[in-house]
């Protein structure tokens, strides 16, 4: 067991000892990694999810990472064919056994930063003025602060390819609209409280819309159907309406 060090974060034994396992119905185990959003928790969830992808057990269906949890879906029938104990106990035991190895420190992967071009304001960002007014910042300052950080994709949920991002400048936090829009177009970039995100499908929505990306976050025909995945980093890059049109093949508005 390697000694804990400042560079590797908490020792894996300590993390794996704090992970709680509980059933999510009769065909899933929910691993609970702690309270609150943190980089350490995110890293641990990603590590276990990646480990299970590399070393699937018989009967594993899929994993769903979230802010502080990892849901591990399994087929009780297939699990029961592989052993004698009840399916939940067998899966829980397997997971407890693999946690230390899955959480062992690994050399950090090179940080890949996905660039998301965004045309801010105007037709594409009808609520930019609302955010500017709420925060007391000039619209250009809102854009600059939104495009400055490197965001972490904590999880994908809500809709296909919809990223929950961490890293929004706290000054930009703005409440949701009182009346949600019946349809928010795909690619709309919005702010809701302390969160920012990108709509991946046309859906009803109450986020304050400050811009739009011409990129498709969800493309079911593509080999990788979503542009983003949990664990990636991204940055918003401001573009003009003319540049937006060249991406999407449509004339500028």
């Amino acid at each position: 067991m390697p000694a804990p060090s400042a560079t590797t974060g908490p020792p894996e034994a300590a993390i794996s000892a704090t992970v709680q396992l509980l059933p999510l119905g009769d065909a899933a185990v929910l691993l609970h990694f702690g309270e609150g959003i943190s980089l350490a928790t995110h890293g641990a969830i990603q590590a276990v999810s990646a480990y299970l992808a590399r070393h699937p057990f018989a009967g594993l269906r899929e994993c769903v990472p979230a802010f502080t949890t990892l849901a591990v879906y399994y087929d009780p029938w297939l699990v029961s064919q592989a052993g004698h104990s009840p399916p939940y106990e067998r899966v829980a035991e397997l997971l407890r056994q693999l946690l230390p190895a899955a959480l062992a420190p690994t050399p950090p992967a090179p940080a890949e930063v996905v660039e998301i071009p965004v045309c801010y304001g105007g037709e594409f960002g009808p609520d930019l003025a609302v955010v500017a007014q709420h925060t007391g910042l000039a619209p250009a300052e809102v854009i600059a602060r939104h495009a400055a950080p490197e965001y972490l994709v904590h999880m994908i949920g809500f809709a296909p390819g919809f990223p929950y991002l961490g890293g929004l400048d706290e000054q930009l936090a703005t409440p949701r609209r009182a009346e949600p829009r019946p349809v928010v177009p795909a690619g709309a970039v919005g702010i809701a409280g302390p969160q920012t995100g990108i709509y991946s499908l046309p859906t009803p929505g109450g986020w304050q819309l400050i811009g739009r990306t011409p990129l498709r976050l969800f493309n079911p025909e593509a080999a990788a159907p979503t542009l983003l995945q949990a664990g990636q980093h991204l940055r918003f890059v401001p573009i003009s309406a003319a540049e937006f049109a060249t991406y999407s093949g449509r004339p500028p508005l």
Partner: protein, 336 residues
């Protein structure tokens, strides 16, 4: 080799067993709400259980078979007829080219399944033919059936051909002929008008007040009109947590009972989001998904607590019955 849609019915969609494996990309599993019914229907016509069929909701479509087909209807009894004669459920049925399948009133349950030997050959999207309406994905152009649609049905599997020959001989001049055999009663449940749905405690069960926990297991809940493939909003006792902390989004799945701040429970179905931020009070057991899927708006249901060991034993028993049906049909379809 197509099937013509003369009238679409209330909500008729192409479904299979869904597209698992993409939930971490936020893509719902979806698929038949009463998967047991679709699996049995597929087995009866010599299909793999994963073949695509139709999910027919409350008011059925009118369909014309343009060629001879081998079909099976399971799930809800929506009073199907051909040429004015009632069609039996839970049996393979040979239908003659030109026959029109018509549905009457909904006698029991909410969703019927029509399997066609050889399946419905709509394109695979992310490994599945299931229609996901919200993202306009899969099925027939990602939407419910419309009048004038032609469903691509390539025709019977080898096992289906064998059975179709026998039934056609028995049909004489009739439009259709059904088998004399049917699966055991456990694989053709009759939907109950006020079902008792078995469930486990959910991850946030302990956050609810003792009174709310008691009420959940003992009071009836009505299925409201806000009921679709994503879930049912229920009407019943207001359920309250004893803690006010906001929850971080976490996994939800078919059968999750979640409770928004208003206190009225929602039970999620196949097209539910992959994650949600409401407290998860309970989780319906897999063996009762069929009963849940057959509940109609306006009906009442109750929840009954079972242990995880009981739930998994029921899960395995259901799979065992399907396994036995598969084996029995393999003998019947290939050697009879």
């Amino acid at each position: 080799m197509s099937i013509s849609v003369l009238r679409p019915g209330l909500l008729t969609t192409v479904q299979d067993l869904g597209r698992p494996g993409y939930q971490q990309a936020g893509i719902v599993v979806g698929g038949a709400l009463d998967a047991l019914a679709l699996r049995v229907a597929n087995l009866l016509v010599g299909n793999p259980e994963t073949a695509a069929g139709l999910e027919i909701t409350l008011r059925g479509p009118t369909l014309r078979f343009e060629t001879d087909h081998l079909v099976a209807l399971t799930g809800a009894d929506l009073t199907p007829t051909i040429g004015g004669q009632a069609l039996p459920l839970h049996r393979p049925v040979w239908v003659r080219a030109g026959a029109e399948l018509v549905f009457g009133g909904a006698r029991a349950g909410c969703r019927a399944y029509l399997a066609v030997s050889g399946g419905l050959a709509v394109p695979l999207v992310l490994g599945s033919r299931a229609t996901y309406l919200r993202a306009a994905l899969g099925g027939l152009d990602g939407r419910a059936l419309r009048a004038g649609d032609q469903l691509p049905a390539p025709g019977p599997t080898p096992a289906g051909q064998q059975l179709a020959r026998q039934l056609r001989a028995a049909a004489a001049a009739s439009h259709w002929a059904a088998s004399t055999w049917t699966p055991g009663p456990a694989l053709r449940p009759t939907p109950h008008p006020a079902p008792s749905i078995r469930a486990l405690r959910g991850p946030e069960y302990g956050q609810f007040s003792a009174a709310s926990q008691w009420a959940f297991w003992h009071e009836p809940f009505g299925v409201t009109a806000a009921a679709d493939r994503m879930g049912y909003r229920l009407q019943g006792p207001a359920l309250a947590r004893t803690v006010a902390t906001e929850l971080l989004s976490s996994a939800v799945t078919f059968g999750t009972v979640q409770v928004p701040a208003g206190g009225q429970a929602i039970v999620l179905l196949a097209d539910c989001q992959t994650t949600g931020g409401y407290p998860r009070l309970a989780q319906v057991i897999t063996a009762d998904f069929a009963a849940l899927a057959q509940a109609r708006p306006g009906q009442r249901l109750r929840f009954q607590e079972v242990t995880l060991a009981e739930a998994q034993a029921l899960y395995l028993a259901q799979e065992q019955r399907l396994h036995a049906l598969r084996r029995a049909l393999a003998v019947k379809l290939f050697t009879a």
